[in-house]
Symmetry: C2
């Protein structure tokens, strides 16, 4: 693992690291914030999964998580959103498939299957690195994310309820198998069998019996993708009368940007800290 950069911030350390990913078959870059408390004891790990077009850097620069993470003693891990490099398949001029659009699934179809294994990367390979290289208490993990990364957070929590103690999302894609901006990627990565898609769709997972104790979801009321791609009311309907409790907060006037994410970042960090401290 190579250190790309390290800087002191809010008494902790914001680092960027690069490693040869066996899972993705390419070099992968990720960001880790280590709070000051980690000098004395292992700290809980909160995974932040980013949205379409993003790398590890967007939330690291614009998410405003360090002040409170340093106060609460949370390690924040920010993976990339897809495999990278000249040899990695891509679709030019389409930001909804290929690089920056891994959708946190393991592709089964050519040419994507070779590198696009973001589910296994985030759930298996990267956690091993975090456990080995950082003062992390892997018994206390939470996950959150934005948009495509909100989809990633919800599905990973639903598929791994024993791993994650907390889950939240900003403007998540709650039902990617039926949303315009995700169906093409699902078809390309997973093939035509929609039964496979169901395994990576929060609404379908819940319908098929998966559950997670409670989700916090914030959604901007002025988000341009609200009706076409996000549709949090579908998650609300899916959770109704199930073991998965949803706290959905519509935030009037907020859009899909980091100006929205950063506004509610503190609330989400406190939500996770409460559930990771026990």
């Amino acid at each position: 693992m190579e250190i790309v950069s390290k800087a002191k911030s809010f008494g902790g350390t914001q680092g960027v690291y690069r490693h040869a990913s066996q899972c993705c078959g390419c070099d992968m870059t990720f960001a880790v914030f280590i709070p000051p408390q980690a000098k004395k004891m292992p700290c809980p790990v909160l995974w932040y999964l980013s949205g379409l077009t993003c790398t590890h850097a967007n939330v690291m620069e614009k998410g405003e998580y360090r002040r409170l993470a340093a106060e609460l003693g949370l390690i924040i891990v920010c993976p990339d959103t897809s495999p990278r490099g000249d040899d990695v398949a891509d679709v030019e001029d389409n930001w909804q498939i290929g690089k920056g659009a891994g959708f946190y699934v393991d592709a089964t179809e050519a040419p994507w299957a070779k590198n696009y294994r973001m589910y296994s990367y985030v759930v298996e390979e990267l956690p091993r690195i975090i456990a080995d290289e950082f003062p992390a208490d892997m018994g206390r993990q939470g996950v959150f994310g934005h948009s495509m990364g909100g989809h990633g957070a919800l599905t990973m929590a639903l598929k791994n309820p024993d791993r994650f103690k907390s889950c939240s999302a900003f403007a998540p894609i709650v039902h990617p198998a039926t949303a315009d901006w995700s169906m093409n990627a699902f078809r390309a990565y997973l093939g035509d069998d929609e039964a496979v898609w169901r395994q990576h769709d929060a609404c379908f997972l819940i319908e098929d019996g998966a559950s997670f104790p409670e989700f916090l979801v914030d959604q901007g009321g002025a988000d341009g993708f609200l009706d076409s791609g996000l549709r949090p009311w579908l998650l609300e309907a899916a959770c109704k009368d199930t073991g998965s409790k949803l706290t959905l907060r519509m935030q009037e006037g907020y859009d899909h940007s980091y100006y929205f994410i950063s506004t509610f970042m503190d609330d989400h960090l406190r939500w996770h800290a409460e559930r990771l401290s026990v």
Copy 2:
């Protein structure tokens, strides 16, 4: 004035605006954060001046000022650091002169004099626009900045002690007339007469009798530019036994980046709010 973008954030509005600057002879872009309190009454204005290579966007995205500015009721104005456009003089491959390196002076020498008038732009033209277009209480203004923008903040406060009620800086260039990374720009913009340079150098201004009640300066101890370009001890020496009081805080382990700035942003906002609220 054209609205480039507007987004709700922390209950207020982060906007980006563009206008034809008479002063600079080109279109100029700037950012303004309006706190929620401005719906009810005009709010004090805090000017943030950015460092070399930056535009209005760097601190807007990475400075983490909105949460507390929204709480304290401060308008934050972030100008660009130089004139812009294809017709504006520049030096290729030199980030210390030309675009992104206006140094908050009015150039007198060709070819710079035509557009590089950042002192008048920030002190005269842009304040008129802010007063006209935003719910600003122009009787309560403060100024702060980073690096080259720290130089800008210190010199503007010293030259306009009646205008500004508060001044602070992150890692400011306190003595640009004798620092490697600023002398070339001073010579290009202002000519060879070092008596003119003195009028845009915080240490020389104080030596020549200017004063400002009190400065807050934070400086990272691991800042790679500390000894070569920043040298806050020269400001400390200049302020000694004068009417200008300096609170200089060396922050161990911090570098020159926004990871440093954002860490101490809250302290600076509170410093200004205390002095702008009276």
